[in-house]
Amino acid sequence: MKKVLTANRLTDGIAVWLGANGQWLENIETALIARHQEAVDALEEAGKSAFNDNLVVDVEVIDVDEVDGDIYPIRLRERIRAAGPTIRTDLGKQAEFKPATAA
């Protein structure tokens, strides 16, 4: 089992992931991976409290894999969130951070 916690930031809606340091990060690469149920429960709790603290909205725990040390979300939807629109590779995370490909 490998899961990460994702959401959209309240103020600007930008997709974010929870990092190991408890910060919400704009890049999935450094997200905290939960590898067993207790860790997933902790992610869920962290998500709830960030939502209640009005930091983020649309909080969700998602399934990921690790490919060559990179975090690879299982669903295409989440890969597109992590990279940006596949039809505008000049926009979104893929343009701001190291190239990632969604599809």
Binding site: N8, G13, D58, L76, R77, I80, R81, P85, A103
Partner: protein, 556 residues
């Protein structure tokens, strides 16, 4: 076009300041998401995959150059330099910050625009024929009636909590360019035998997961009764429309479950009570609104005929564009220009800030300051003198807006799909891009003739796939994208819902499938004048099924 009066200005300004306060309270944590979400939606602010999205209303798709320039500026200053024109004649911005949305709405209010009623269970932006007031085949301009409906339905307490969203479309010609039969209410403006204006009233059409063609419940409603009759429909719907199940809440379900005859009886009975009330439109009021839409004074410009004939000879690109993208105007020296937002391999409906500004300049210089957004995700300059067409063409060419493909196979409607939309199951835009590239040759496109491909990324059908001559619906199967193809749909005066042709196609096989369908049509058509739709209606699905799946295949 309609100009805000003091009341309108005050109303919109108040809404913006109310919204500004709501956003501030949300950011400070004073109100939570549950309370705030409906408030932001009431102001057109959604949350998509990458960011918020702002949907701005363009009433009946009509804009002037000042408004278009403002849309361009908003794209540049608050977004990533572009916007997406939608099938509902609106524009969507894909990256606004929540914290900026009050400022954006303020900018819009300055040019008499807003995002009110672009979401939620209310009467949405009333859409209309994008050639309104210009088309040669028009009986009368439908926009004054759309404007009356807009004013009446804006912030109307009785329609703030409808069972579900409600969409009205109006057309003023026999040729239906507004897809009125797939709207909750479709109004067809016409004249009766005495020459009086009125409407054929269609109710209960819609797309989404249950596509339904509207029923004509009245053949002629005098124009003065527009609001009383619409109110009667809304009251029956508000009273009996289902609120227990969101998938059964649209009026199309009510009409079906009640039965057309009984539903009509209920509306007519309700109308008897309302007919002679203050809802009856006085002739003066009708005339006052119509005056806002008075046609521009068009001078005779007969020199245009010679000019374009010569220019066509000199420049085949111009000739092709005039042939495909310019339609007859009611004044013979003028044309209606369709500006294609479908460059080969481009993103259907997207325009960047420079393109928007170019269109604004052209409208101001050559187009009597009018711009339209079409439900086919293109822009329109409704009144251009033939003598000015070449200037317009060259300016459009310079910013990549002169693709001569209006109504052809690469003029594809596509919803945002999984590249942006939080509800999507599959991507739509890349499918459109690949098909567009496969059929890039204009010569080949013209050989194929009129063919409308429409693509949605989920069953909500924002990309109108049910009424595409070829419709493509993205679904998710075992975690992967899969595309279901429907054939024979049409969203005009002879509306039909496309039929699923068989099992779906993987992303890399969709374009081949479309090409197979097109080749099958070319092989079977009686002559070059028989369009894809006509041929399909004549021969049915069998030859297409066979070409796609072979004889032994079973439809999935």
């Amino acid at each position: 076009m309609y100009r805000y009066d003091e009341f309108d200005h005050d109303f919109v300004r108040q809404r913006v300041s109310q919204y500004r306060d709501q956003v501030e309270r949300r950011m400070s944590g004073e109100i939570d998401e549950t309370a705030f979400k409906p408030l932001r939606l009431m102001n057109g602010v959604y949350l998509q995959l990458h960011a918020y999205m702002l949907r701005v209303a363009i009433p009946y798709g009509t804009l002037n150059s000042r408004q278009m320039r403002r849309l361009a500026r908003i794209a540049r200053d608050y977004d990533k330099g572009y916007g997406h024109f939608t099938t509902r004649q609106n524009i969507q911005y894909n990256w606004p910050k929540l914290s900026d949305t009050p400022a954006i709405l303020e900018e819009l209010a300055e040019v008499e625009m807003h995002a009110i009623q672009t979401s939620g269970n209310c009467i949405r932006n009333v859409s209309a024929d994008h050639f309104a007031g210009a088309a040669a085949d028009e009986v009368a301009d439908p926009r004054p009636y759309a404007e009356i409906l807009r004013q009446w339905s804006s912030n109307h307490p009785e329609y703030s909590f409808l069972p579900r969203k409600f969409k009205i479309a109006v057309t003023g010609a026999e040729r239906d360019r507004a897809a009125i039969q797939v709207h909750d209410i479709g109004l067809h403006l016409k004249r009766n035998e005495e020459g009086a204006l009125g409407f054929a009233v269609w109710v209960g059409g819609g797309q989404g997961r249950t596509p339904v063609i509207a029923k004509k419940i009245r053949d002629f409603l005098p124009e003065a009764d527009l609001l009383s009759y619409t109110t009667a429909i809304m009251r029956v719907y508000n009273l009996y429309g289902r609120r227990d199940n969101k998938y059964k809440a649209r009026i199309k379900i009510l009409v079906n479950e009640t039965g057309e005859e009984e539903f009509t009886r209920q509306v007519e009975a309700e109308w008897q009570k309302l007919k002679e009330t203050e809802l009856k439109l006085p002739q003066d009021d009708l005339a006052a609104i119509a005056a806002y839409f008075a046609p521009p004074k068009l001078q005779d410009r007969a020199e245009g005929w010679g000019l374009i004939a010569a220019a066509k000879k000199a420049d085949p690109g111009f000739a092709a564009w005039v042939h495909q993208n310019v339609t007859p105007h009611r004044h013979p020296d003028y044309g209606v220009v369709t500006i294609s937002l479908k460059p080969i391999g481009g993103i259907p409906g997207d325009a960047d800030d420079t393109q928007m500004e170019t269109v604004a300049d052209l409208a101001e210089k050559f187009g009597h300051d009018e711009i339209r957004v079409s439900h086919e995700q293109n822009l329109v300059l409704p009144h251009v003198a033939l003598a000015d067409l070449e200037h317009v063409y060259k300016a459009l060419l310079a910013v990549g807006l002169a693709t001569a493909n209006a109504g052809l196979v690469s003029d594809i409607i596509a919803c945002p799909g999984l590249d942006y939309c939080a509800l999507a199951n599959a991507r739509s835009i890349p499918v459109a891009q690949e098909i567009s590239e496969r059929f890039a040759s204009l010569e080949r496109q013209r050989e194929i003739g009129e063919l409308k491909i429409k693509i949605s990324g989920c069953i909500n059908a924002c990309g109108h796939h049910h009424v595409g001559h070829i419709g493509i619906l993205g679904v998710e199967k075992k975690g992967a994208e899969l595309y279901q193809i429907t054939l024979g749909g049409s969203g005009d005066e002879n509306t039909s819902i496309g039929q699923i042709i068989g099992r779906g196609f993987e992303p890399e096989k969709v374009t081949d499938a479309v090409e197979t369908i097109v080749e099958t049509y070319l092989g079977l058509r009686e002559n070059a004048d028989e369009t894809f739709l006509e041929a399909y209606r004549r021969i049915g699905p069998a030859p297409f099924k066979e070409a796609l799946y072979g004889e032994t295949s079973k439809a999935a």
